[in-house]
Structure formats: structure tokens, C-alpha cells
Symmetry: C2
Subunit: 131 residues, 2 copies
């Protein structure tokens, strides 16, 4: 099993692994969809209502992509009318840990940017000069 320490020394493999994760959650709608499904399985129309302004075209496209990436599972039941349920796979559930870390960093960073430590004026920082 390849792990973090195996790719840490290799910038390109590291970046590839990050991008794998990034691709799963980037775009305008993937995150809200996953977020909604973290609260439990949902039908197509339920998701549509949950997400507010999404078009069925986008929802359909995103769900297909998430299914292809094994993040969600699609189940069809032959009720009338047909019922289609979407739910997170174990892999999809496990991304919650990644999101939690992103939330923590996001909140921390926001604090760091909003109220920066008052700095003592440093002449070097006003007109830096080198060599």
C-alpha cells in the first residue's frame, strides 16, 4: 500500500495525489452534493430541491461523474414512478475527514488574514534591499 511518506520526497507524485483528491471535490456543485449526501441518501429531486439553483443537467452530470469516481452509489428501484437513490460509498464517506481538515485550515487562515498580529515597524520591510 503506497502511503504519504512514499510520495513526500517526490514533488510530482505528491501533486498528482493531491489533484486526484481535488478533482473529486472541485467545481461549483460537487461539494454541496457530497455535503447533502453526508446527511443521508437522497433521491434526484430531493437533491435538486436541497441544492436550490442547480439545473437538472448539471445535477445529472455531476452525479454521473461522482459515480464514475466511486464516490457515490446509484440505486434504481422499480416503483411507480421510478425511484433513484444516491448515497455515498465508504470512500465517499471517508472524504469527510479531508473536508474537516480543510474547514479547520480555512477558518484558521481567515482569522490569520482578518486580524493579523500588530507588527513592530521594521525598516527592512519598508524598502527591502539586497546585496
Amino acid at each position: 500500500m503506497i502511503q504519504l511518506h512514499d510520495v513526500k520526497h517526490c514533488s510530482s507524485d505528491y501533486v498528482i495525489a493531491v489533484r486526484d483528491t481535488l478533482n473529486v471535490i472541485s467545481g461549483k456543485w460537487k461539494l454541496p452534493i457530497i455535503g447533502s449526501l453526508l446527511y443521508g441518501k437522497k433521491r434526484f429531486k430531493e437533491l435538486e430541491r436541497d441544492l436550490g439553483k442547480i439545473t437538472p443537467r448539471m445535477l445529472s452530470k455531476e452525479l454521473k461523474e461522482l459515480e464514475l469516481n466511486s464516490i457515490i452509489k446509484r440505486s434504481v428501484y422499480d416503483t411507480t414512478p421510478v425511484t433513484v437513490e444516491y448515497e455515498l460509498t465508504p470512500s465517499g464517506e471517508s472524504i469527510r475527514a479531508v473536508l474537516d481538515v480543510m474547514v479547520s485550515w480555512g477558518l484558521q487562515h481567515r482569522q490569520a488574514v482578518m486580524k493579523p498580529e500588530p507588527m513592530k515597524p521594521d525598516p527592512m520591510s519598508i524598502s527591502a534591499n539586497k546585496a
Copy 2:
């Protein structure tokens, strides 16, 4: 200080905090730029050579955005010709922890998808039927 547990019960605040983080690293070049700067401060041309196929227009644009987001710090030295150095801020450095978690998930997920557990055939999974 707002923390993870404060937003965990609120789907929209949670998603906003994730997106704050996502915005910092998404796009084609932000990640390679941050990755390169994790190895130490670099000048414009050094980054350009490091990143291979990036155009100066994109590099300039991305660096400006990262600086605006307090991820990197730009220092100008009045040498001849002028020297401009880019380096990660403490906040920028701290994103490494987020990337590490993303790498771990990315590698795990790839394994999960590539060699899925052989499942015992389950009649329910072949033609699901509900109510």
C-alpha cells in the same frame, strides 16, 4: 476563535469554509506553485523554469492571487537587474498539512477503486427492488 465543531452542524458554513480552502489551491497552477515554494523561496524566472509549460501571464496572475490571499509574500530587491522573490507565508506553509491529508486520501481512494474487495454475490445488489 471559530473552530471545526462550531460549523459542523451547519452545512452552509461548513461548505463555505471548505471552499475558502479550495479556492486557494484550485486551478491548474496554484498547486504546482505552492509545491515548488515548499522547497524554498524562488524568483519569477526560477518558478517559470520549475513549472515547465506555464506562460508568464498565468504565472503573474496566479502569484498575484496567492499574494492577495496571503499565501505567499513578494519581495522586491533593487539589484540590477531587479530581483523579485516569492516565498510562502506562515499561513501558506501551514497548508502543507491539508495537502498531506489530501495525498493520503487520494492514495487510499485509488487503492480502493483499483482493487476492490471481492464481494460475495448478494441477490439484493443484482436487481434491487423496494416497496
